[in-house]
């Protein structure tokens, strides 16, 4: 008797109860009860995932639940990873969300709809990886999209920009659904069955062209869900505008499901494919990584910065998944397993630090009402806990030791560096470029997060609202504390995940890599070895810091620290207006990447009346628009609008015309049949 069905049933019950409670209960009771039930659903989901990672598998068919096709559920270790991550994030965010919604009044996240949707969203996040047939998967997938859309719109009364973000999100996520539907319909039709087992069995009978088409369509849908360039446009809009707990869930558990779908479809159901699939995926990943983090480095909106950084991290994960597929297609399975383990570890790490970052950003927004870094500052003394937690998570995000992100990026780099032993031109050309792109993204990520932390939290407040910031309530800090504990654990003892990751990798038929074990990370393949011991690094750093602080103390004579005013070059005291802002911080990088970013500048000089020389006002404005959006989306949108305008003429209002359309359609159909298909 496995623990998985019990855990999933509990999760479903609690989630359902939470939704009902959200609908039914009055405002005062609503928030804590829903939070509790959601957290319970998260615990149950995480338990199911952990059980699957522990080696148990489970599958069942519930024929009556969906008409015609029934429901198929199955949980293996790969699904377990995503389930466990989603469950864990849900727990922390639910605790955080209680504190977040409590202060907001019965609107926004505290509203009836939002509180009813939150447990459902959590539930779908946990359940999507358990789907084992196309119809079950698509139903859960669509449910997740709809519920998250309603949650994104939760604060639509407060800001008009929420509505626009909602439209973008709705359109793009449904375009993704259409692509996915097409891919799976094609695949199921050719493979002769719609359960994942049937697809897996029938995949080798499908022609290579169709397999390629299925992979491209599904890949587009899944990379869009994960927020990878070029189908990322919804992400930097929807994630900042959603209430922060929802952003945290979307930016971790939900984008992860894009990765899950890609691994499941590409590596498992289709059973791998030719090199060009994976080269394409690596290209998408590399471009997302660099473009995403570059936009993040330019962004002065704190949550937008984090959203673009999600794009970057998903790009890194896709490089790992792509490398896995590439190595598999060349037959080097141990190396492929290493690449996939690195990608999965990065998924876990990213979920931990990004959820924490979004939660901390949420505390800032809740306390100050500001997302603009240029107006924040000085929060480290006003919100010390939040600032500390943000710093901890940022350490993970910049991929430097002793943060948790470093370990997975290290593993990813190792798998790529050793990939040169795989023969093939494509490998030799692509791997160095990917290493360079990863390195560049890591470097720019450091700049981006130094900016977020240094400008947003350090120095002095740049606006009265930042000056009046108050620390977040204890429940929010408790929720963030859970995530912080996860970050620290992942950073110090990643070896705990070793067996689980191996099982997840072997769930799709690759050998376990054994990369993570007890004390640290170790790569050991034929002719290759490398190892990393995070615990050791942290200990060494701690000792060295103590020495660096202590030795000068022993020697120094004047022990007492003197407070002095900031050096102001002798003039008046420097005001916060003189401090570097986020925009000025990013300016050199922006100039370096001018050709890529193509910023737009406006200079308006208003002269004093009747004088050509005296200037009354100079207004300078610079925007760094998303160039891909400009170049790719606007032409498409314009074309669509054009078609729509011309299509209006088709609907003349005459009944005869409409009947005529029907008649012509019928005749064309018959002609087509007669000509003989």
């Amino acid at each position: 008797m496995s623990a998985i069905p019990a855990a999933l049933a509990t999760a479903t019950t609690l989630g359902g109860a939470g939704a009902l409670a959200g609908l039914g209960l009055p405002y005062r009771l609503r928030v804590p009860v829903v939070g509790l039930l959601t957290a319970g659903a998260g615990v149950a989901g995480a338990a199911a995932g952990v059980a699957a990672l522990g080696g148990s598998r489970w599958a069942t068919d519930l024929p009556g639940l969906l008409p015609l096709v029934g429901t198929h559920l199955a949980v293996d270790a790969l699904a377990g990873v995503f389930m466990a991550v989603a469950g864990a994030v849900v727990v922390a965010v639910a605790v955080y969300g209680v504190g977040y919604a409590a202060g907001h009044g019965p609107h926004g996240l505290g509203s009836r709809t939002a509180q009813a949707m939150l447990p459902l969203f959590a539930l779908t996040l946990v359940l999507v990886p358990a789907a084992a047939s196309v119809s079950t998967f698509l139903v859960l997938w669509e449910l997740m999209a709809l519920v998250s859309l309603l949650l994104v719109l939760a604060e639509h009364r407060e800001r008009a920009s929420v509505r626009q973000a909602g439209v973008w999100y709705a359109v793009m996520t449904h375009l993704g659904l259409v692509l996915l539907l097409a891919a799976f319909a094609l695949f199921a039709a050719r493979a002769g069955g719609e359960t994942f087992a049937a697809l897996r069995a029938g995949a080798h009978t499908v022609s290579p062209t169709v397999r390629g088409l299925v992979f491209v369509l599904a890949g587009l849908a899944f990379t869009s869900k994960a927020g990878a360039v070029p189908l990322h446009a919804w992400l930097p809009r929807a994630h900042p505008e959603a209430p922060s707990p929802v952003s945290a869930l979307m930016s971790t558990a939900m984008v992860n499901l894009g990765v899950y779908g890609l691994i499941r479809t590409g590596l498992d159901l289709l059973g791998g494919g030719p090199a060009w699939w994976w080269l394409g995926l690596i290209a998408v990943g590399g471009v997302s990584a660099v473009y995403g983090i570059l936009q993040a480095a330019m962004a002065s909106d704190l949550k937008r910065l984090l959203a673009y950084s999600t794009s970057e991290n998903m790009g890194l994960v896709f490089i790992g998944v792509g490398a896995c597929g590439l190595f598999t297609s060349y037959g080097d399975r141990p190396l492929a397993a290493l690449a996939l383990a690195a990608a999965l570890l990065h998924v876990v790490n990213h979920a931990a630090f990004k959820a924490l970052l979004f939660c901390a950003a949420g505390s800032v927004v809740r306390s100050t009402g500001l997302r603009d870094l240029d107006r924040l500052g000085g929060l480290r003394s006003r919100m010390p806990a939040t600032a500390g937690l943000f710093a901890l998570a940022a350490l993970g995000a910049v991929a430097l030791p002793p943060g948790n992100g470093f370990i997975s990026e290290w593993l990813l780099l190792q798998s790529l560096i050793h990939g040169l032993q795989v023969p093939g031109v494509a490998v030799a050309v692509v791997l160095p470029l990917s290493v360079a792109l990863i390195a560049l993204s890591a470097g720019i990520a450091a700049a981006a997060f130094v900016k977020a932390l240094g400008v947003g939290f350090f120095a002095r407040p740049r606006s009265p609202r930042a000056d009046g910031a108050r620390e977040a309530p204890p429940l929010m800090i408790a929720g963030m504390g859970l995530l912080a504990a996860a970050c620290v654990a992942l950073a110090l003892v990643p070896g705990l995940l070793g067996d689980a990751l191996d099982r997840a990798v072997s769930a799709i038929g690759l050998p376990g890599s054994g990369a993570l074990s007890g004390g640290g990370v170790r790569v050991r393949l034929t002719d290759i070895s490398a190892s990393l011991s995070p615990l050791w690094v942290v200990a060494a750093l701690a000792v060295a810091i103590m020495a660096a602080v202590g030795l000068p103390r022993l020697y120094g004579r004047r022990r007492r620290r003197m407070n002095a005013r900031l050096w102001d070059c002798g003039g008046g005291a420097p005001t916060p207006r003189m401090a570097y802002t986020a925009t000025s911080f990013a300016e050199p990088l922006q100039r370096v990447f001018d050709d890529v970013l193509a910023p737009e500048q406006d200079l308006n000089v208003t002269p004093v009346r009747e004088s050509a020389y005296l200037v009354e006002r100079v207004r300078f404005e610079r925007r760094v628009p998303d160039r891909i959006e400009h170049r790719l989306y606007e032409p498409v949108l314009r074309a669509l609008a054009g078609t729509g305008r011309s299509a209006r003429r088709l609907a003349g209002g005459s009944v005869h015309l409409y009947l005529g359309y029907g008649f012509v359609g019928l005749v064309v159909l018959l002609v087509a049949l007669a000509v003989g298909w």
């Binding site: 500052g377 160095p432 390195a439 470097g443 450091a446 060295a544 002095a564 401090a579 570097y580």
Partner: protein, 318 residues
């Protein structure tokens, strides 16, 4: 592990820690002589450090813990990196952890800490320095990692002791185009990471041209001593790393005290030579404009990429 191994690790830390001011003094002396000056003597940076440690510690009002801890973190990352890099011996108790990517990341961590300290002051110059430093650091990263990539291909690992002992056994690796290109690329990256001419001028007094110095303008007394020591140690460490990777002869590969002593002397000689070359080159070069720095780094990136491809398609694998 033997006592020699532990002695080697301790020796590396002490040599980098105590030798860094001497190296700076030596480089200033070389430079002074080339400029026709008499020079303040090799010991001058140590006198400076001693004096700064005796001075009063100052906390500018409005700064926080990032400002206070950054100097210690800067020194600590360098110390840990110095323990890892096989400057004296490849056979130490920590040699199995000595990963090149880790060392690079540790150095970057020091950079990030100082940049945060610069922003923490909330002054215009601090932010300016932090912004520029992070820009340069972000652009240096690809070069460094690709050089690491190129170096790890013949050795099959990113473990520095393994790379170094492999090069000692097989000197041909170093004279190959890949080795030379990687050396050149890494040398440019080291110039950028340590803030030397042509990327940054360590002895400038003009705030508007500063990169590294601008972040340290608010530090005084013992904190400043740590910041300066940290910067000097980084220079020593990175020059030592360059010499270990590309002129590895003399580094002890076994557990013998004699070999360790020889390694110590040779290390001092190699680093002094490199320092003298760098100091002399600085007399001839001018600092380039900040927005020309990307060109320099793009060039070094290209060299690193060529190193990778060269090691692959010339005589390399296949």
């Amino acid at each position: 592990m033997s006592a020699v191994g532990y002695a080697a690790v301790a020796g590396q830390i002490v040599v980098v820690g105590a030798g860094a001011p001497l190296l700076t003094g030596w480089m200033r002396q070389v430079r002074a002589r080339l400029e026709g000056r008499a020079g303040a003597g090799v010991l001058q940076p140590w006198r400076d450090t001693r004096k700064l440690l005796r001075k009063e510690p100052i906390t500018p009002v409005g700064t926080g813990s990032a400002f206070r801890t950054a100097p210690a973190l800067l020194v600590a990352t360098t110390v840990v990196a110095a323990a890892l890099v096989p400057l004296l011996s490849t056979d130490t108790p920590v040699s199995s952890h000595a990963d090149l990517i880790l060392v690079v990341a540790l150095i970057a961590l020091g950079t990030v800490a100082l940049a945060l300290a610069g922003l923490d002051t909330g002054t215009a110059f601090g932010g300016m320095g932090a912004s520029r430093e992070m820009t340069v650091a972000a652009l240096v990263e690809p070069t460094i990692l690709l050089s690491v990539f190129a170096l790890s291909i013949p050795a099959g690992t990113t473990n520095i002791p393994a790379i170094v002992s492999g090069a000692v056994d097989e000197p041909g690796r170093l004279a190959s185009p890949a080795g030379l290109l990687a050396t050149a690329a890494l040398a440019v990256a080291v110039l950028a990471e340590t803030g030397r001419i042509p990327v940054d001028n360590p002895s400038t007094h003009l705030e508007l041209t500063m990169i590294h110095e601008a972040m340290a303008l608010e530090y005084a007394g013992p904190d400043l001593a740590l910041v300066e020591l940290g910067a000097q140690m980084r220079l020593t460490l990175l020059l030592g790393l360059l010499s270990s990777l590309f002129v590895p002869w003399g580094i002890a590969t076994g557990t013998s005290w004699a070999a360790l002593a020889v390694a110590l002397v040779l290390f001092a000689a190699k680093v002094c030579l490199l320092g003298a070359v760098l100091a002399a080159a600085e007399v001839f070069w001018a600092k380039i404009r900040l927005f020309r720095v990307p060109e320099l780094l793009a060039g070094s990136f290209l060299l690193a990429l060529l190193a990778v491809t060269a090691s692959y398609f010339l005589s390399g694998a296949s």
